[in-house]
Subunit: 109 residues, 2 copies
Amino acid sequence: MTNATEMLTALGDPTRQAILDRLSHGPLAVGQLAEVLPVSRPAVSQHLKVLKDVGLVFDTQEGTRRLYQVDPEGIALLRRHLDGFWERSLAAFQQRARNERGEHHDRDR
Amino acid sequence: MTNATEMLTALGDPTRQAILDRLSHGPLAVGQLAEVLPVSRPAVSQHLKVLKDVGLVFDTQEGTRRLYQVDPEGIALLRRHLDGFWERSLAAFQQRARNERGEHHDRDR
DNA sequence: AAGCTCGGTAAGTCGTAGCTTACGGTTAGT
DNA sequence: ACTAACCGTAAGCTACGACTTACCGAGCTT
């Protein structure tokens, strides 16, 4: 699936954050990730499945190995989600700051 | 603290995502959030503490109530983090696509 | 075809995150 | 001062998620 909130939920785990961070520098195989990370290879494999299901990474068969890499479109989707999020909260913030200064509050009169 | 990875970890929980989503439209009190969300008021209070500790929300005393709202700077920080993330993965992606086409691979010869 | 490397999946354990109820503290109103 | 509204924290329970070991399949090499 390609949902922004599910991506955020997937990125909640620190190990998955580390995996995506490594993959952002270039494609890596499962074993290579397991060498660096403080978890076993099957654990890495399970995390990669989660990241793949939400559309943050994709894999390509490379001989006997399987290369994983970050899907730029997935990151872009998450980025746009935060963008709209940021705009709303900023608008609400500025509106509130305006009410603070000129204390009209004659909204419904 | 004001760390991007800790923000991502905090946003891993769907309830906290929902809380931040509501708050992005404007300030809300704890009780108002609890009315809407499918959890109890103390649960909301605990989630707000997590969101506040990572710098995603801040609160202001308003009489007997306590208004929470999104911190735009917190979202901005997370946004920039994803930006750098996206640029790296895109660069790695394009580089790989280039290697696919012209199969030079005379890197170390 | 046998042996090797690599990786996904199953099964099971364990810690902890999220939830609830109960309680106490603070502010405002009468 | 008493009461009510609102909220944070403590204590405790439960479910789930992250991890491990064990097993098996797929792809090269010789």
